[in-house]
């Protein structure tokens, strides 16, 4: 199993691209940052409204900007994939070793998974539907406020531990 995962994690094509084009890595870094700003910009302002900050903006209209957050997430996921699968080229460490030993990368992946579960809970508990019906200055239910707070904390945590990943490579 371990050897299969280790085999699958190395992508010679990605490694070759990074090796042959020195600009690819910084270009991915740029889009990783643009993506995180879009993601946390859209999701964070929505979360703030859930918590109760930014009254006057209807959650429904703020929610319509969430596809921009999804765009940001996809940008981050693609570039993040390049970082992990092409890491050998940059620091000479096998991605399997990085994934199994780098605490910050592990924490980041856990936080992202938790943020996903949080989003799932937001829909499964019916909060997503309740919030849709709220007016611009209405208070959000306590549960929606909690879920918004957790989401905001998790995404800021993702940025925090993400920035720390290179320190243990």
């Amino acid at each position: 199993m371990a050897s299969f995962v280790a085999y699958w994690l190395r992508w010679p094509s990605v490694e070759y691209l990074i090796e042959a084009n020195t600009w690819l890595w910084p270009l991915c870094e740029i889009f990783h940052f643009v993506g995180l700003i879009l993601l946390v910009g859209a999701v964070g302002t929505f979360d703030l409204r859930l918590i109760g900050f930014g009254k006057g903006l209807s959650p429904k209209l703020l929610g319509r900007l969430l596809p921009w957050g999804v765009t940001g997430f996809i940008l981050c996921a693609i570039t993040g994939f390049v970082f992990v699968t092409g890491i050998v080229t940059n620091v000479g460490t096998h991605p399997y070793v990085v994934l199994t030993t780098n605490l910050w990368l592990q924490l980041k992946l856990v936080f992202i998974a938790l943020a996903g579960l949080n989003l799932l809970a937001f829909h499964l508990t019916g909060m997503a539907r309740v919030v849709e019906t709220l007016g611009p200055t209405d208070d959000t239910p306590l549960l929606a406020r909690c879920l918004g707070g957790v989401s905001l904390a998790l995404w800021l945590g993702v940025i925090y531990v993400g920035r720390l990943i290179p320190w243990e490579l």
Partner: protein, 247 residues
Amino acid sequence: MRSQTAGGRAPNGIATGGITFAPRHADAGSFRRAFQRTDSVEFLVWLRDTSYVTWVRESTSLLGYTLYLALHTIGLVFLVGPNLLIAARVLGVAPQLPLSPMRSYVPIMNVGLATTFITGSVLFATAPDGFVKNEVFLFKILFVVLAVVALRLLLRELYGTAGDPDARPISRRARRLTSATVVFWTAAVVAGRLTAYSARTVFQTLLALAGLAVVLGIVAYARRAQANRTASRRVAFGIHTAVKEGE
């Protein structure tokens, strides 16, 4: 010292040819002497070798370098995120969102600005000799200053005059200032990412970005032209109204 590996970080390793810096820790401690000389290089050396900055640079503690680095990015998000929300409204991405409640984001943006400024200053102090010699970094600072000035002017344009900002149409000046903030922040992020790279890589990356921008521009232009053609064909064949009724 941290190693200069993946992606590169503080450009400690960047050559400082031209200006000669005093050896590390040679004469740390005298703030007064540093200022009396009115010598900026002397001051930067003093700053770099102060005990706290040295600790920040060399400690492996989570309260050291990484704290400032991570908070710098989080401050950036607090500053640019709400800026983008205002931009979405002003530039017509989210035309129904009211402007007046967005005023409550101003304190958040101020906190973001203060955070990035303070953490950025500490990060700068850890390797000032490298940073002042780095043109890409100087460009980043220029773009950040331009973005902040444009943002201030935009906020004054939107909220400076009495009355409800949603009651009046958005001025052309507001639209221009908004576009300016988006362009300057993007440029600042690009320059910030490229600070750690060699001139050759910076040039190649900018070239790749430009190429990508051209491709995306062509795609956007083609899609718009296609939409226009479809619309005019619909009008010509009388389909337009039929489709409208069908909805």
